[in-house]
Symmetry: D2
Subunit: 397 residues, 4 copies
């Protein structure tokens, strides 16, 4: 018998401290744990500490999710010398304060999306990130869907000119988890905590994806927000999505659904829609891009597929190709299983961790940057203003 | 041997005169010829005469399409006593004049969509239709897609309450026939003839379908039109879609693509898009409806299918049902083939002829009426004004 | 007004006499009526006479389907001088007698599949056809699915070498119309009339398709037939598929389902299955072909699509292409509608009529020939023998 | 700061020793590591030791996959007192020896499929397992696909009677990884090591799945094996699937493709096919079940979906339901992500670990048992004999 050291001893550690441990915390934990097992990393992530206000709950989370220690405030986490990177998985109203403090303490930061609840906050965070970057501190916003292999392949095909000049983007993020008017309130339906509803929570993703895939930015929008069910039962206890209804009702203060038209910097037209009321659609992130040379289509419910129409092919045999994005030529896929053995939702978090670790080791700035996150925040704000004022709104650059 | 009279002699004739004989003329001819062979009709359509300006061409068309006689002007067709119904298949700029004259001459009218090139024309036509109706003269607008069995089934399910309260409509009509900038000009790209581009030609269909399926009307819109390629080669000769390019170029004076947000009378949100630049999409009429109890989805490229999500089912076995709309319980289908033997594009024209003949015989007003067509025209006009003025526009009722 | 002669007077007539007027008779009638309206034909089909035993019923059928006259026996139809072609749409037990008589009378023959109820009959018919061919009399077996554009495209791609060396064929014909044990008996379940059940009725189609697409023949088989429900209610009256149950029961004397393994002449492996008990599958003719360079897949429930995998493409962008077979480059399609406007079940009958008329005019032998039909019959017989004897059976050549 | 013990201290450990560390070893490692993070387990798996012959390679594997120590022989692994469970991930020719030794040493055993290379071996293993079970030692065969949630749901629906009486099973396992004749030899193509080719490697999975879902056993088979490319380049070095070709060629001694007909104990018909030559199909495990009340269809390339046709529904709205198997009501899914957030290939290995740990803690016998694995082995052997002798073969019970 020979003892195998957990790491072969070559790579230095990257010590991670995570704030928050709910849905996103579970996904991030799985990412930090799994990344070094499938990818060659220049730094070895250590799951050093997790922070949360309730001591009993944070301890239970640490045990379940596999963190070495706990803190009962994010401040004490940031103060620790043995933390290199702060991973922020809390609701949006807390992001600015935590992130700025972490950056000022010289910690690398991974911040869940949406980056902030207001443009002002996002601007302050971006300034802090740019200042910290001067000292080699790195920061990244968690638009994980960029790291779905099919999405990364879509970006590659556009960048390679396979789509030609962009004409159209149509993107939808369709869910149905509150279509039942008796589904209880949660923090995600509270503007003070969540900042925004369907628009900020899921619309942010398709804005980022559309801009990432096309390499263009949204420049003008005309939008409409809507709260379909504006009063709901209070939850029976302090519970999340799956909470049972208790007594009394409360106001929904965010949008249930959002839609907007867009113009992109290169002149293309965009149509966007985000809703939590699309009955039967569970997590349908659908994005279609049409250009002068070809088209792409993606649906997250089949996230291992990318549909590609090559308009330069002979019309007799042209057709949308159903590309199963599980070949070793595809982004990220070589580390996983043989062709046809698909991956799932959490794998894009693993890819995010891999890219961030490599950027930190290489001393390069990760993407999406805080500036990227700020630009998405500006689009969200413009859509909201547009809806309030029945007008088209420009996105400041 | 016994001679079989073409008709058993019971049903009186309904003598049809058609104006125009291009793409739509071919589809309508097939409808008049085929309808009595598969459906029991109270009147037997006669393909009495077809009218066109060029004598040689109209004669050739009559021979090919199976019309008994020809006229070289629509006026002489209307003057004929042996014509009961005038079927108008010409470009939109001619509809008002022909239709009003026909109605005044006491002929029933079937008018291809879009009903007219302006709201004013459509209003005049509607007044003429309403006046003629007092004398038992019937009129119908040719929104044929209503008669696709899957669409008619969608309408039935909504009417039966299977979708519940409507939350969302998203509808797209995607084509790519002019994505090549070298595709030559045709009358469909000329505002004087066609009135409108993608919006009026194909957007009109999805407006009608969305309103038909949901039973609600569009009340407000914010839209954007766009001419992606505004100069094109002139056609080598007076040819249509498949024309070769000749020498010189000309201006495209209609929109290539249109998109708009909408509010419906019941409060639901709508997102609409019509384009001729969606590379790889040939005739993709896609419509999805989400309500409090369920959802429906349709794509014309698979026109014999309707996807239905029943939100009242147990979550463990709920899922979009792929309904193959070829059962005898389904609208129109009983007249055709056994289950699983699909029908095609022209069949909805046949169903349109069947319904119109039955209405004429029964003395009931057909749908979609001219008033329905006028309302679609008003939505189209509102989208155009909205795009010109960067504003939301109300649809007058 | 100018009278337009039904035909411009150039093409000579081809006078058709049809025997039988049920399901197949309706499809053939629609074919003869429609073919000259969309295709340029060197001969103009005339729907001269239809024959059936019951005078009242055949007269009604003639009126509904559009035949000029009637006969109450196939013999009197064949005796008529004004009939050029006999179109045989009766149950299989009558084929041999009618077809041989027609050929001996110098009539061209179109014979519905399966060609005969026994190999002996099929051999006699083939001999008669070969003898008649010496005098310029043409004959064809009605394997219409060959004329579905997607199938014809599949054949073209194989012939062009796009699939390379053939490795696998898997073909299924799945229906469910008698999965209910209370569905009543019909002539299709009676061995004396139908000759065979699922095997001969629908299995014959996939045998023909597999051989047509691959260009290879089945050389050996091991099969199993099965009668799942062997006793059924008698029909209430002399009705067909949609018959109501009456009193009493009767024996099902044909197979309900059949499956067999096959070896093809080139060494490829084949797996075939035909059943009327695949709950939820209405007319699913599914065929998939795998070769060294690529693969093809087809499902009749989406009959306007062909899926093509080009194995020579770069693995990073390779994928099954969903070819919408509605382009003018595709077989038969140029005569129909613009791209994306699909066709239906009866169109392959129209294409069959077109090809047959052109062959007759050109003096060339149509395919599938009676020899082709005989070969399919031999495969059917071998599968039956194999099932009876638990052995592999060779197909004689 | 509070140190969080890796486990809260309640559950006892289950110490695992794994033999082999290639493809399956990586999947099993991920399972042992992840299972306790998402599922509540009565025992906490410890990744105690991994064994392999080459010391340097096994150490590298241990570091990468996260095992605490290494052994250079399976014998020394089994001898260790601190190992509770032996997880066998080696090629099939070694299974019998390792497994029997482990069982005799009182270790629980998880044995990858196919269980053995011969029926004799499988029988010996089963006897050993049954003997060991008397002392509370548990054993399980790694047919992981049973633990795909959609498959487990399929089993549940059949068990609940939703399919009624079974009529048909058709199952295919289609891959294409050696369709290129220049793909080099690997141990999987060597009968001495692998025992069997496509039949044993992937055909075994669909045999197990068909029997698991239906609850019936295969009783008779008629099959055909085939080696399409029987000579291949030798690999350039001792590499696996992705190996480069070196110099010289060697014989392929296993089948490339296999197909067989089957009868099931309840009288249903089965059609099975396994191949590595289905160009464009990467890991297409397709299984369809038809019964008197409904049907099910599954394709592993879309492994989070189950298609269910409920034949008891009204024909007007019946259709295959596309069930997205990501609801908390579905098997295994509650531990993962919200609805619509799919899981991937390795998750069924995690579920397998969960079920095995729970069975060990509960003192119940896991499934699939070695007796189940032996029965699959008997079907494989019968197919092979059938192919060799051109006969139907019974499966002994």
């Amino acid at each position: 018998m020979t003892t195998a050291p957990d790491a072969p001893g070559v790579e230095p550690d990257l010590s991670v401290g995570m704030v928050g441990y709910a849905f996103m915390g579970a996904a991030h934990s799985q990412a930090w744990r799994t990344a070094p097992r499938f990818f060659d990393l220049p730094l070895r992530p250590r799951m050093t500490a997790v922070a949360g206000r309730d001591e009993a709950r944070v301890k239970a989370a640490a045990a379940r999710l596999g963190w070495d220690s706990t803190e009962t405030s994010w401040q004490s986490l940031i103060e620790r010398d043995d933390i290199d990177l702060v991973d922020v998985c809390t609701p949006g109203d807390t992001h600015a304060e935590i992130v700025i403090a972490a950056l000022e303490a010289g910690k690398h930061v991974l911040c869940e999306k949406p980056m902030a609840n207001t443009v002002d906050e996002a601007e302050a965070m971006t300034r802090a990130a740019e200042k910290a970057a001067l000292s080699g501190v790195r920061s990244m916003v968690g638009f994980t869907y960029r790291r779905v292999p099919a999405i990364a392949l879509a970006r590659r095909l556009v960048a390679d000119g396979r789509i030609g000049t962009l004409h159209h983007v149509r993107a939808q993020y369709l869910q149905d988890w509150i279509v039942d008017p008796e589904a209880p309130l949660s923090w995600r339906l509270d503007k003070d905590k969540a900042g925004s509803g369907a628009l900020g929570d899921i619309g942010a993703h398709i804005i980022d994806l559309a801009q990432f895939i096309t390499g263009e930015s949204i420049s003008r929008v005309s939008g409409r927000l809507c709260t379909i069910v504006d009063e709901r039962p209070l939850p029976s206890e302090h519970s999340g999505l799956s909470g049972k209804a208790g007594t009394g009702t409360g106001k929904v203060t965010v949008d249930d659904a959002a839609m907007f038209l867009a113009e992109l910097t290169g002149g293309a037209l965009g149509v966007f829609e985000a809703t939590r009321f699309a009955n039967g659609r569970k997590n349908a992130i659908r994005i279609e891009v049409n250009g002068s040379r070809g088209s792409l289509a993606f649906d997250f419910e089949d996230m291992n597929l990318l549909h590609f129409f090559d308009g330069t092919e002979d019309a007799g045999t042209a057709g949308f190709r159903r590309i199963m994005v599980t070949e070793e030529q595809h982004p990220y896929v070589g580390a996983w299983w043989p062709p046809g053995h698909i991956i799932g939702y959490e794998h894009s978090f693993i890819h995010q961790a891999v890219d961030l670790v490599r950027d930190i080791a290489a001393g390069t700035d990760p993407t999406p940057s805080f500036a990227d996150g700020l630009q998405v925040q500006r689009v969200l704000a413009a859509v909201e203003t547009s809806s309030d004022t029945d007008s088209w709104q420009e996105i400041p650059t």
